[in-house]
Symmetry: C2
Subunit: 349 residues, 2 copies
């Protein structure tokens, strides 16, 4: 019998995290544990406000999952199809289940997750994300991230150029830029991307609002840097028209409903000639460890969500000099998870 448990959790960020569209100091999570035959798999839902999920909606969703019809955890497609049709949306909640299921299966099989997906144990060069702040503070954060080979800079403000200039004064690291839908005018965006290219920027994530499809297609057809869809691309079926809007996609477990659909998205993106970025939300080392196993499928990795928090309940892969060193444990690669030491409840915020 498959048994699912969960606990809410508030993940505390090291710094106030600002992006185009909001700022926060914590992220609500729901942690999951799926047991079968004495083996335990762990998962996680992370709910940044943008996507409309919360601890309440996630617990409500997870509480509806009735696994009594499933006697074989290896039939992931059937199990996850059942979970998916319980209610639309709820991608993070679905991911919390999917990740725990994959951790469980791989432990039962005695293999690390990347081998379940047929992938090599690839160490991953991840970028480090710098949230929006004053030019001085952003420059300071950049200096603190000198270990990392790539930085991901959040933009989408009225003084983006000033922010980039402040960063370039203190760093030669190549930059990924994430505008989080913060730019509104396609022509101004195109001019600015030309300038960003001269500053050593590698690609631009979600420059325009995801609903502005005609403008995105226009910009992607002209941009000298790859345009990556993030907010605009969540699940597999969103890839249908992705190649006309973007050069690549940012796959995140919390959008894709977890590992299985993320794997399918990566394969489909390759078929469509789309570049692949593997990203994350603010997450514990659980969801980050899981996503890292798909790293061999990605062109660019941004899996630093667990490096910017103060109360990570788990230990996963080590990060050395900006490289995620994929460990060889079975499952997603958590080291001795202490589920019972995680409190059952969180204080109401």
């Amino acid at each position: 019998m498959l048994k699912l448990e969960f606990k809410p959790y508030i993940l505390q960020k090291k710094y106030v995290f600002r992006i185009a569209g909001g700022a926060r100091t914590s992220t609500p999570l729901v942690l999951t544990k799926l047991s079968y035959d004495g083996v335990e798999g762990f998962g996680e839902a992370s709910m940044p406000p943008l996507y409309g999920e919360s601890i309440e909606t996630t617990i409500q969703f997870i509480s509806k999952i009735d696994l009594s019809a499933f006697t074989n955890p290896y039939e992931t497609e059937s199990i996850l199809e059942y979970v998916d049709q319980i209610a639309p949306g709820n991608q993070a909640a679905k991911a919390a289940f999917d990740i725990a299921l994959h951790d469980l299966i791989c432990k039962l099989l005695g293999i690390p997750l990347h081998h379940y997906f047929g992938l090599p144990a690839k160490n991953l060069v991840t970028s480090k994300t710098i949230g929006i702040d004053t030019p001085e503070v952003m420059a300071q954060r950049v200096q603190e991230a000198s270990d990392f080979q790539y930085l991901k800079i959040k933009l989408g403000t009225d003084n983006d150029r000033e922010l980039v200039e402040a960063i370039k004064l203190v760093s030669d690291q190549p930059l990924y830029v994430d505008a989080n839908q913060g730019w509104k005018d396609k022509e101004i965006a195109l001019d600015f991307i030309h300038w960003l290219k001269e500053q050593g920027v590698v690609f631009i994530e979600q420059p325009l609002p995801k609903a502005n499809k005609a403008d995105l297609a226009w910009l992607t057809a002209r941009s000298p840097l790859p345009i990556i869809g993030d907010e605009g691309i969540q699940r597999l079926t969103d890839l249908k028209d992705a190649a006309s809007l973007y050069h690549g996609i940012n796959i995140k477990l919390m959008k894709s409903t977890g590992l299985r659909e993320a794997f399918k998205m990566a394969n489909t993106a390759k078929a469509l000639g789309l570049k692949i970025m593997l990203g994350c939300m603010s997450e514990t080392s659980c969801a980050i460890a899981a996503a890292a196993h798909l790293g061999a499928l990605a062109d660019w990795i941004d899996l630093d969500g667990n490096l910017m928090i103060t109360n990570d309940p788990y230990h996963g892969h080590q990060v050395q000099n900006g490289k995620i060193m994929l460990n060889r444990f079975t499952g997603i690669g958590l080291l001795n998870p202490q589920w019972n030491q995680i409190p059952d409840y969180v204080e109401k915020i």
Copy 2:
């Protein structure tokens, strides 16, 4: 260490097999065995003449595979990427390796192949294929196939209507129609498809030559029955413009380079809103058994290649009343394969 062996084999057909474009009584194969740690996986290449492969090209290709760099069979993506880049084409040869690798991995893991792909053990309603012949002979073959719920009729002749009428006189089974690129005029094809719909036909496979893309798009936009791409869709990257040409695709291991890419093709097809048919060539129970594990991903199954031959060296899943009963053995599901009893050489034809 991974060790690959192979043997050529001539598969004899029960009847002369005619389709639009050719007739034959046998099919050249290369059978493979991949060993690791005392465990053996089995695979197969089937080379119908259309795709340009032969026993010679396949043995030449397989002989180039050097597995000394790979110590871990679970890293299928890396291993298969290496095999794929040895030379272009050679899809059946690549499938022979891919199938043996998956059989091996699943035996090492102790699971049946469908569980490796996260799929349930689904019994499959397969169609039975009726080759082109005189109306009388086709009607006789249809009567011999009364166990099957669906028939797949080969057309693409000058007297297609007469053939269908002869079949309908003796059978009420719903029909799949495969024209094998045999129709040349899109308007005549459309008229005929309207008539075929009245005869209980379910879909039309490859009505027009695969190169006639504008005509295919025209026909697919107007056809009252689903149009399925077969010759026109071989590998994952062929799906890029598939949705504008076809309503669905016929996935065959001998075109896709094997199971892994077939699985990716099925997932991508779903993302693109394409229907999925799972088909085969003339094959032994080895490749048929392997393909059957992907059956849960397909809308229509045509896995009868092992039912129309007289010298099958293997035993796989049982077929009862037109249903493939997926067995629960580990790997692809061969029952006690007798590799050593298969001769090492075939007589030159």
